[in-house]
Symmetry: C2
Subunit: 418 residues, 2 copies
C-alpha cells in the first residue's frame, strides 16, 4: 500500500488543549512517512475541506508543531459548521469525498464534540459507498465534557482547573473585604446544557469557602436560592456564587434573559452573573462584585491541567495509531482505571455509539438541595485538574504561543459555494 | 531601648501580592526580637486597631507566615475605611494612639494606597504631639499603580501580567473562530481613573493581535472607536477590545451607565463590556463575546509576575529595616535603574510627598489616536510582568493558599463605636 495523505480539522469552540491533540496527530503521523505522506489541515475547520482550502503542515517546522502542545486556541482555525443528514447535506458530503480523492487523503481525523463525531461517522459510511474509502477517526474535544463513553473530554480538565483556582482566589479576596465591604462574589461560567464547569467551582468547598452553585440541570428557585445565600453570609460573613450560563427558570427562560433593555429599548445585554448579583442586592442588601469568564476560561492555557494536556496529546497520537492499525469509524477514549491514585488508559468507542449522544452530569453528582456537588463528584473531578503544565515564557514575561505559517496546498478542483 | 511591638494593617482593595509584603514585614521583624517584640495585625485593616481587634501574629507558624508570600488576598482582612483630616477624624486618630499605647506599639506599618499613606502620615504627626511617638511607615500597594515617586506599586505587575496573558489567549481564541463566527472579543478591566491595567493589554500588539484599548484618560468617541474596530476587522478578520471600567463619555458619564433597565425598571446591571459589545453589534453587525475580569484579575496569584512578588516582599522587608534605622513618616519605593535588563533598587519617599498625590498615566504612553500604547509604555510595562512566581499546588491540583489562625490579642481598653 502506497502512502496516503491525512486530513485533520478542528471543529466548534476551541480549547486550551485542542492544539495538543493536533500536535499528537501530526507528530505521530510524521513518524510513519511510509503510510502517511503528509497531513493536510482544514483552514478554519471542515470549511477548509469543503472549499479546498488546505494547510500543508509539512511546511511547519518540528519546533512549531511541538509548540502547538502548549498553545491555546485552534492553530488551524475552527468553525461552527454543522453537516446535517446524509440526504440533507448530500452535496457537502460528496464534496468532502471529492476533495479527499483529489488530494489522495485516506485518513480523516476530526477533532471536536458531538456534531463532528456525527460528521466523522457519516464520512466513513459514505466514502465506502462512493468507492473511495477513508478511515475516519474522531478525536474528542469539548470543554462541556458531554461526549459519551470516554471518561472525560480533553479541554474540560483545563477549564475546570482554571475555574476552580479562580473561584478560590476570588473567594479569598471577598473574604478579606467582607467585614465592611463586598460580601458576595458571583462568577458566571460556560455550560448551556451541562453543569460540569460549574461543578468544578464546587471544589472550593474543600478550602472552607461557602459556595452556592447554580446548574443548568436544576430549575432555578429564587426563594430557595436567596435563603441559601443569606444563610451562608450569616454564618461565614460572605458567599461565593457560581452561575452556569444555562441556568434557567422553571419555564425554560435563561436567567440572563431578564428582559433587560438599554436606554434605546434594545433587548438584553446579557450575563446571568449581573442578574444574580442584583437579585441578591435587591433582596438581601449585600454589596457584590461579579465576573464573567467567557473566553478567558476556555483559552487559559497558562493554567492547564497536566493530565488534560497529556490526554489531549495521547488521544491525537492514538487516533493516528488506530488508523494505521486499520481501524475506522471510531473515537479513542479515556478509560479511568482508578481515581486515587489517578490511572487511566486509552480505549476506543465506535462512532455509531458516540454520534448524537449527550452525556449529562449524573444527578448523584449534585447535592440534594441542588446547590453543590457530592463527594462522588469531587472524586471524579480532582484527577482531571491534577498537575500543572505551564507554557514557556519569553524574557518579557509573555507566553511563547505559536502562530503557524499556514501555507496553502495548491487547489485542484473548481470552487465550491458554501 | 526595650523592645516595642509593631502594628501592621492591610488597607483597601486587596491584591495577589499584598500578603507577600505582610510576609516581608513579619519575617523581618522576627529577626529582630530585641527591637520588635511582636507584630500585631489589624483584623480587617485599620478597623482592627480602632476596635482593638488585634491578631497575634506570633501564634502563626513560620511555615504559615512564609506561605503568605504565595497567597493572594488580605490574610488579616482589609477594609475601605478612610480617616479624614486630623480635626474631622480627631476621635479616631486619638483612639489609634490610645490603642498603640495600651499595647506598647512603637511601629506602625500600613500597607495600602493613597488613603492609607495619608493616614500613616497623620499618625506620625499626631503621635509625636500626643507624647507617644510611633514610627509610621507606609508599605505601597495598589493594582491601580497610582502612587507617586515609586516607579510602580506592588499588585500592579501581577494584574498586568494576568490581564496581558489572558487578552493574548482570548485573542488567539477569537482568531480561530473569526472566519465564520465570533469576530469581536471585549474584555473589561479595572481602572476607574487610571488606565494602567488597560495599557497592559496593549502589549498583545507585539504578538500581532489587533487590539483597541479604551482608557479612562481618553474621552470616548463612539464614531472614531467604531471606525477603528471596523478597520481592524476588515484587515485582520477579528479585533480585541479592552475597556477600562472608568471609560466615559465627554460629559463624564461612564459607558457602563447606559441607562440600562431590567424588566422591573431597575437601573443598570453594570458592565462596560456588554455595552461596548452591543454597540459594535448594532453598528457593524459583528458577532461578539465579552468578559468582565473583576476580582479574578487582582486575585490571580496563580499567574503573578516574579518581579512583582519580589518587590512586594522587598518593600515589606525594607519598611521594617527603615523603622529599625530610626526612620519615620516615609514609604519605601521602587527605583528603576534600567529597563533592559531590568534593574531596580529600594528607595524612600517622605510621606508628606506621597499623601494625596495621584500618579496618572503619562500622555506619552498613549498613542495619538487614543486607542493604544506607545513603545515608551511597553518599555515601562514589560519589566513589571517579567518572570513567573507560581504558588505550590497540592496533589489534587489546587494551589496551597494559607488561611491564618488569626488568634486575638486580649483587649485592654473599653469598646469603641465606629
Amino acid at each position: 500500500m502506497s502512502a496516503k495523505n491525512a486530513f485533520y480539522a478542528q471543529s466548534g469552540g476551541v480549547t486550551a488543549v485542542i492544539n495538543a491533540s493536533a500536535c499528537g496527530v501530526i507528530e505521530t503521523a510524521r513518524k510513519h512517512p511510509d503510510k502517511i505522506a503528509n497531513v493536510y489541515a482544514g483552514r478554519n475547520g471542515i470549511i477548509g475541506a469543503l472549499t479546498e482550502d488546505l494547510i500543508d503542515t509539512s511546511q511547519e517546522s518540528s519546533a512549531d508543531i511541538a509548540a502547538l502542545r502548549h498553545t491555546p486556541s485552534g492553530g488551524f482555525g475552527s468553525c461552527r459548521f454543522k453537516l446535517k443528514g446524509l440526504e440533507e447535506s448530500k452535496r457537502e458530503y460528496e464534496r468532502l469525498i471529492e476533495v479527499f480523492k483529489a488530494h489522495n487523503i485516506g485518513y480523516f481525523f476530526y477533532n471536536g464534540g458531538g456534531d463532528s463525531a456525527d460528521t466523522c461517522y457519516k464520512v466513513s459510511q459514505l466514502s465506502e459507498k462512493m468507492g473511495f474509502p477513508v478511515q475516519a477517526i474522531h478525536v474528542p474535544k469539548t470543554v462541556d465534557n458531554d461526549l459519551p463513553i470516554t471518561d472525560n473530554c480533553p479541554g474540560f480538565g483545563s477549564v475546570a482547573k482554571y475555574i476552580a483556582v479562580s473561584t478560590l482566589e476570588a473567594s479569598f479576596d471577598v473574604r478579606s473585604m467582607a467585614a465592611t465591604s463586598t460580601k458576595i462574589f458571583v462568577l458566571e461560567v460556560m455550560g448551556r446544557h451541562a453543569g460540569w464547569i460549574a461543578a468544578a467551582c464546587g471544589l472550593v468547598e474543600d478550602n472552607k469557602i461557602p459556595v452556592v452553585v447554580l446548574f443548568p440541570e436544576v430549575e432555578f428557585d429564587q426563594e430557595k436560592f436567596l435563603a441559601q445565600v443569606d444563610e451562608k453570609v450569616k454564618e461565614h460573613g460572605f458567599c461565593t456564587i457560581v452561575v452556569s450560563e444555562g441556568t434557567h427558570w422553571p419555564d425554560g427562560r435563561f436567567l440572563a434573559e431578564q428582559g433587560t433593555r438599554d436606554s434605546f429599548g434594545h433587548a438584553q445585554l446579557g450575563g446571568a452573573a449581573p442578574v444574580v448579583a442584583n437579585m441578591i442586592k435587591e433582596a438581601l442588601g449585600y454589596k457584590f462584585h461579579w465576573a464573567v469568564a467567557d473566553y478567558l476560561q476556555r483559552a487559559a492555557r497558562h493554567l492547564s491541567s497536566a493530565s488534560d494536556v497529556e490526554q489531549a496529546y495521547a488521544l491525537g497520537k492514538a487516533a493516528v495509531e488506530m488508523a494505521l492499525e486499520g481501524h475506522n469509524s471510531i473515537m479513542p477514549t479515556v478509560v479511568r482505571k482508578s481515581s486515587a491514585p489517578y490511572e487511566w488508559e486509552i480505549g476506543r468507542a465506535p462512532l455509531s455509539e458516540v454520534a448524537n449522544v449527550e452525556k449529562m452530569m449524573p444527578m448523584e453528582f449534585i447535592t440534594e438541595d441542588g446547590f453543590g456537588i457530592t463527594s462522588a463528584c469531587k472524586e471524579y473531578l480532582y484527577p482531571l485538574i491534577q498537575g500543572e503544565a505551564y507554557p514557556p515564557y519569553n524574557k518579557n514575561g509573555m507566553p511563547e504561543y505559536v502562530t503557524l505559517k499556514g501555507a496553502s496546498v495548491p487547489r485542484k478542483l473548481d470552487s465550491f459555494e458554501l
